[in-house]
């Protein structure tokens, strides 16, 4: 049944957030540290294991995939509730810092990605 998939998703979501909340308390931050990330990791590991054990029939999986497909519509709704006016009236400091800070990080992406690739080929070679 589809609801089983939705329930699995909800369970992972809540456990991940719980871990993130505990991590926040432990680090003395008023907030959630990586709750969504933990939830994603949990879902990946759990669904992988369930598939291998054949505990995850297609109908159950469809319950998760439905919400997977709803992701872009949700993001569109999210963009329509941003404080766009404030962003445009924050003054030149806001515009310049936003622009250059973002541009520089874009520029760093291929450089850091390359470090990673090099490391991977190195370890691959070592393994061989």
């Amino acid at each position: 049944m589809k609801i089983y998939g939705v329930a699995i998703l909800a369970g992972c979501f809540l456990i991940g957030h719980l871990v993130g909340d505990f991590l926040g308390v432990w680090l003395h931050i008023d907030g959630n540290v990586g709750g969504v990330g933990f939830a994603m990791l949990l879902l990946i590991v759990l669904s992988d294991w369930m598939k291998k054990k054949k505990y995850l029939p297609e109908e159950t999986e469809r319950g998760i995939l439905y919400w997977n497909a709803m992701y872009i519509p949700v993001v569109i709704a999210m963009s329509s509730i941003q404080n766009v006016k404030a962003a445009l009236t924050g003054g030149w400091v806001a515009v310049l810092v936003g622009l250059f800070g973002t541009a520089f990080c874009f520029f760093l992406v291929p450089i850091v990605a390359k470090i990673g690739e090099k490391r991977q080929t190195d370890t691959n070679q070592n393994q061989q």
Binding site: F13, V36, I72, S80, V84, I115, Q120
Partner: protein, 247 residues
């Protein structure tokens, strides 16, 4: 008219589905017919959302009662729930391979952004350590900025600027990611994870990747979700102490 308005206000969440569905249909048609699929439909739809937001107030279009349901559909609960769902189908071995580089990109992303943001603010007249740190933190995300500013006691106008910086960043990332993706090699899970760690603003990363290639969303979102938490940890502490001792 009154009856229709009342009906929609009462069923705002359902109405939001209809509104988003119509936006998506029109955007995907525009993508196909006007741009020959060159600009992805999702990118047009997300930009349309931002334009709609301009007509509202602090909470975008949802400040208008008729569209209040958009706040629920686009709120953090639904956003996180659907982001987690994208993990279904992500490859665990790919994530394990990039794991360490992902952590590295998070730290580099926060530290570099903090100092660049703060330095620009410094050059424009915000020369005290508290303003430097708050503006630098705002360059990370619109959550890290106010959290840092409040923690170290910055003035409220600087905190407002830090929020504006974060929002501008999130919008820029949303719009620019699909345009610049090819040039920075953003077409595989490995680079997507590095991208999420360096840029960090979850909504921008998620929306930008969705418009570039939906398959990359889980990888970018996975690292990006750790960014705000780590930023809230580093900016008001270590990074602020460093700046405070220099200025």
């Amino acid at each position: 008219m009154n009856i229709i308005e009342k009906l929609i206000e009462k069923n705002g969440f359902v109405f939001a589905f209809l509104v988003v569905g119509v936006i998506m249909y029109l955007s995907y048609q525009a993508s196909k017919k006007l741009t020959n699929n060159k600009i992805p439909g999702a990118a047009i739809a997300i930009s349309a959302g931002l334009v709609l937001a301009y007509f509202g107030g602090k909470k975008g279009i949802s400040d208008i009662p008729l569209f209040s349901g958009m706040a629920l559909l686009g709120g953090s609960m639904m956003r996180d729930f659907t982001i987690v769902a994208t993990a279904m189908g992500a490859s665990f071995s790919e994530i394990k391979k990039t794991g360490l580089v992902g952590v590295l990109s998070l730290v580099i992303g926060i530290v570099v952004t903090f100092f660049i943001g703060g330095s620009i603010g410094y050059a424009m007249g915000y020369t005290d350590a508290k303003s430097f740190a708050t503006i630098g933190a705002g360059a990370c995300t619109f959550i890290v900025g106010p959290v840092t500013g409040t923690a170290i006691g910055a003035t409220s106008d600087v905190i407002a600027i830090s929020i504006a910086i974060g929002v501008i960043k999130s919008i820029l990332v949303t719009i620019c990611t699909p345009i610049i993706a090819k040039r920075i090699g953003l077409n595989n899970p490995h680079t997507a994870m590095v991208f999420g760690g360096l840029i960090g603003t979850t909504s921008g990363v998620a929306a930008g990747l969705a418009a570039t290639d939906p398959k990359l969303v889980p990888y970018g979102a996975l690292t990006a979700t750790f960014y705000t938490g780590l930023g809230c940890l580093l900016c008001p502490s270590v990074l602020y102490f460093i700046i405070d001792s220099i200025l």
